[in-house]
C-alpha cells in the first residue's frame, strides 16, 4: 500500500476542512438509515455535519454555537472524549443536522473558521493547561453542552491539574456577580479529565470579568509549576 500517493488536498465530497488543534469538519449528505438508527439522534435529518478535534472543547463549541446560529442547522449531539493528546483534558465530537447538505456544509465551514478565533484562549504548558471561552449571547450548542442560558452571556473556565481549576473557579465567582451553570471535576461530568471546569452566566460584563480573573490566577498558578505555556491560538478576551 502506498499511502504517500494519497494527497493532503482531500477531494472527497464529505470533506469540508481542517482547523487548529487537530480539528476536522465533514459532511454526510444523506446518512445511511441503519447507521442513523444507531446514532440515537432521531431521524429528522439525513444531512449531517460532523466536527471533531483532538484538543479542546469550549472554544470549538463556542465556534459551533455561532455557526449554528448563523445557519439553518440544529445540534444533534455533543460528546467530549478524554483526549488532548496526553494532556489532561478533552477533545470534542459534534454532530449537526440540516434539511440540506448545503446548510450543514455552511455550518461546518463557519465553525472551522471560527475555531481558529475562539480556540484562542488555550494555554498548554509542560505541567498542565487552561482553557477559557466567552459568548455574549449563548445559543443552543452552549445550552446543550454546558447549560448556558439561551440568549444570555456565557463564560467558561477550566484548569489542569484540577486543583488549579478549583482555585480559578473560586476566584471567578468572587470577582463578579455571576451564576454557576456547570461545575465539573474528574469524577463528575467529565470523561475523567484532570480538570475542574466551571461555566457561568450573568451580564456580559460580569461574566467576562469573572473569566478574566480566573485566567490571571490560572496563569500564575500554572506557571508556578515550572514552565511557561504555549498558546496555540491567539487570545481574544
Amino acid at each position: 500500500m502506498d499511502i504517500k500517493s494519497i494527497s493532503m488536498d482531500c477531494t472527497r465530497p464529505e470533506f469540508v476542512g481542517t482547523a487548529v488543534l487537530d480539528t476536522i469538519g465533514l459532511v454526510i449528505p444523506g446518512v445511511d438509515d441503519a447507521l442513523l438508527n444507531q446514532m440515537d439522534v432521531g431521524t429528522r435529518y439525513r444531512s449531517l455535519g460532523v466536527f471533531s478535534s483532538r484538543t479542546g472543547a469550549a472554544g470549538q463549541l463556542t465556534a459551533i454555537d455561532e455557526a449554528v446560529k448563523a445557519t439553518n442547522t440544529e445540534v444533534l449531539s455533543i460528546e467530549l472524549p478524554r483526549d488532548t493528546k496526553g494532556w489532561g483534558g478533552h477533545g470534542n465530537y459534534v454532530v449537526l443536522g440540516g434539511q440540506d447538505v448545503s446548510d450543514v456544509r455552511q455550518a461546518i465551514s463557519t465553525a472551522l473558521e471560527l475555531t481558529n478565533k475562539y480556540a484562542g484562549e488555550l494555554y498548554i504548558s509542560e505541567a498542565g493547561h487552561l482553557e477559557f471561552a466567552f459568548s455574549a449571547n449563548a445559543g443552543h450548542v452552549l445550552e446543550k453542552a454546558f447549560n448556558a442560558v439561551y440568549g444570555q452571556a456565557f463564560g467558561f473556565l477550566c484548569g489542569s491539574p484540577a486543583a488549579i481549576g478549583l482555585v480559578m473557579a473560586d476566584t471567578a465567582v468572587k470577582s463578579a456577580d455571576v451564576d454557576i451553570i456547570s461545575y465539573m471535576t474528574p469524577n463528575k461530568g467529565t470523561s475523567h479529565s484532570n480538570e475542574v471546569i466551571l461555566a457561568l452566566s450573568g451580564s456580559a460584563s460580569s461574566v467576562k470579568e469573572a473569566v478574566l480573573s480566573a485566567r490571571q490566577i490560572g496563569l500564575e498558578l500554572l506557571i508556578s509549576m515550572g514552565s511557561y505555556p504555549n498558546i496555540p491560538g491567539k487570545p481574544y478576551l
Copy 2:
C-alpha cells in the same frame, strides 16, 4: 536498587512473550483463590492466560480469537482501557482460562504471534489514527468483544478524531450488504475514546469490501489533517 541488573530476557515461569504495540503475554498456572474471587470470572479455571497491550484492540482481539479457537481455552474477560499512549483510542486487557497451564500458555503464545500479523491494519499520524480488523469466521472472543456472529465473517473499523470514524462508518455500510453489530462513540461503549467504531457482519466478501472502503476514505481524511500515518505493523487486508 540496581534495576539494570535485571535482564530483558525474563526467566519467570509466568512470562510467555511480548509483541508489537507494547503487548505482553503471561500465564498464572494456579491463581490464588482470594484473587480469583475478586476477578468476577467464575471459579471454573485456575490456570489463566493474561494478555495486554498499550495500543490497539481489534487487531489483538482477532489474534486472540484465533488462538482460543486453536486451543482448549475460554475467554473470561475483555476490557478496553483508554490508552494508545496519548493517542485517541484503547489498549486491551484479556484474561483466558484453561484446565491446564499448557493450554493457556499455548493460547497466549499463539495470540502473541498472530498479533504481529493481525495488528497490521493500524495507521497512526500526528492528528489521529485508524484501526481495522477482519475475520472470515468469528469465534467467541470477537463475539464477546463486539457482538460478532459466531462462525460468520466479522469486520471492524475505527477512526480518530471521531468525525472521521463516522464518515468511515457511513461509507462502509453503503458500500456492501452488511449488518451493523456494534456502534461505539466517545459516550457510548468506549472508554471515552476519541473514536467512532463500527463492527459488521455479513458475507466474507461484503464485510471485507466494507472495511476496505472505510479504510480508503479514512486514510484520505486522516491525511487531509496534515501528516502521513506511520504503519507500525504490516497491512494484511
Copy 3:
C-alpha cells in the same frame, strides 16, 4: 498578552507549593458558598486545601494521609482522573477541609514535602509503569481512597499494561499472609486506566513483603518489554 512577565515565584496567598510528578498544593481560605454547594463535600469547612498531580496516586495519597494525621484537617474528596501524561494510569485531585486556613496550609505543605518521599516507588518505562505504596498505619485518606483498615498496615501495587498488574497481584497475595482490600481493573474502579491495582492489609511485615514481591516480578515483566524504567523519585521500600 505577555505571559513571560508572570514570575515562576507565585505570590498569591492561595499558593502553597509544588512537588514532583507535576504536583501543586493550594489553599482557599474561605470558599465561596455557591461553589461549595456544587462541590458536594458538605458545608462544615470553609477553609479548603487542594492538592493535585498529573502523574501518580498512591504515593501522593500516602503523603496526604500522613499530613492529615499530623494536622487538624479532614479529607473531603479524593478523585483519580485518567492521566499520567500519556501513560496508562491516574493523576489525583484531593480536597481537604479545616477550621482554619493555617491548618489546611500546614497539611498541604506537609503533603507536598512528603510527596517527594512517598512518590518514590514509581517506575515508568517506554512500555508501561509500576507504582507501589506502603504505610505502617493507615489513616482516613487511605481508608477513603482504597478501603485501608484504619490504624493497620496498608500496601498498594499497580502494574501497566494491566496484565503485569494481575501477575503482580497474584504474586503478592501468595507471598505473605495478607488480605485484599481493593482490586481495580480498567473496567472496575479505575478511570479506564490500563492497570490492575491491588491494595492490601495485614501485619506490617506481611504487607511489606507482599509489596516487595510484587515489585520484583513487576520490574522483571516490565523490563521484558524492552526498556528500563525511569525512576522519577527515590525508592523507599
